[in-house]
Amino acid sequence: MLRKRIIPIVLLDGFSVLKTINFKERRNLGSPITVTRTYNTRNVDELVLLDIDASKQKRAIDKFTIAEIAQDCFMPLTVGGGIKSIKDIQDLLAKGADKVAVNSYAIQNPLFIKEASDVFGAQCIVVSVDVVELELGVYAVFNNGHIVSKLDLFEWILKVVELGAGELLINNVTRDGNMKGVNVALAKKISNIVNVPVIYAGGVSCPEDAVRICETNASGVGISSIFHFTEHTPESCKLVMKRAGLSVR
């Protein structure tokens, strides 16, 4: 049986690892090489690395950092940040990424998803979608500090899958970094309307939150704050998930 995935999400500002709160406040957490090496020895299922300033600063995520991280990373590695061409993807794959996450540029030019998916295969193309909760059950797509009012969240999700996204990474901005709990209804709704893997991130406060997300059709849960700032580890999360009857590695 396919296992539910626990995926540490590592955010970069180009140089250092950081953790955001609501995508705004930041705390610097040191070298990405050290952070990812720790995760590697902890035998995690997969890693996601996102350079959250790349698009804004009109550059791509640093290839050499990726190469160094991939050097002894024998697990799947998803990399995102500022990707806007087939060449950008080629470069990242050559440096050791297995999948790439596209976000801002997909909003500007949705057909890029199709182009990339046709060239590299859907399994390689993750579309990352940032979501804000306007009020209970009302959502909007968020990008670069703004609500993208031309897009309806669920229509956008269906569209990117139709265009060839092989996986969705949903980041709940409203809950980002708060460690105050997850939005299960959102994870449930998204994972029920598509038939590609869905990874939900944003707000995980404890291993039980990972259980709640993985009890939906979501394929996995993205976690960052509680791994950086609390005693919880990917292993301790999996133990709780296993006890709850979920299938984990």
Partner: protein, 204 residues
């Protein structure tokens, strides 16, 4: 020398890093005549079956592989699409011919179940009892899979097969004499994956 075939249709950096990590000597080859002197062959594959098949036939690798794998019986390991290429034919894209070493075809994974999530992406357990390439690996260990098409065996004659469960029995590993195929990515399956590769390098 271990030769890794680069068909230049997908990124094979991970395979190379894993082989390097294991301390094995290897040569990355792009031309069929470079197969000369191979003691082991890895045929990695990422991406699309048809694209890989086109490259395989256009480059002249088919004849060279036939000679080394079928006549000289050099151990070969196909990984992911590289494993699928061992079959008779595949139906991804326009459809194309494989090498025909394993009597099988390659079809989309959820041809019966519309609700199944495709690609089959993530960690899944493999029943590996008594198979030599899984020595030192616990039965039902998890390996990393990412694929939308899977091998459907037509005749099991002379085959060792290990399955994983994803809506149906999915062929995770297949062997016919010196010919091995892994649908999972050993180079991305952490310790068990490295052990599997080490077994291919040291035991075959």
């Amino acid at each position: 020398m271990l030769k890794i075939v680069d068909l230049q249709v997908g990124n094979i950096g991970s395979v190379i890093r894993a082989v390097k990590h294991l301390g094995a000597e290897y040569e990355l080859i792009t031309l069929p005549e470079q197969l000369e002197g191979a003691t082991k062959i890895i045929l990695p594959g990422v991406g699309n079956f048809t694209a890989a098949s086109v490259k395989l036939y256009a480059s002249g690798f088919v004849e060279a592989l036939n000679k080394h794998v079928l006549d000289i019986k050099i151990p070969v390991l196909g990984i992911c699409v590289g494993m699928q290429l061992l079959a008779n034919e595949g139906f991804e894209g326009n459809g194309a011919k494989g090498l025909g070493y394993i009597d099988a075809v390659v079809k989309r994974i959820n041809s019966f179940d519309e609700t199944l999530i495709v690609p089959h992406m993530g960690w899944n357990d493999v029943s590996t009892k008594n198979l030599s390439l899984f020595q030192g690996i616990e039965d039902k260990s998890c390996f990393y899979f990412v694929h939308s098409y899977a091998m459907k065996i037509l005749s099991q004659e002379e085959l060792d097969i290990a399955y994983t469960d994803y809506g149906e029995d999915v062929v995770a590993y297949v062997r016919k004499n010196n010919i091995h195929g892994a649908q999972f990515h050993p180079e991305k399956s952490q310790a068990v994956g490295l052990q599997f590769l080490r077994n291919f390098i040291e035991l075959c």
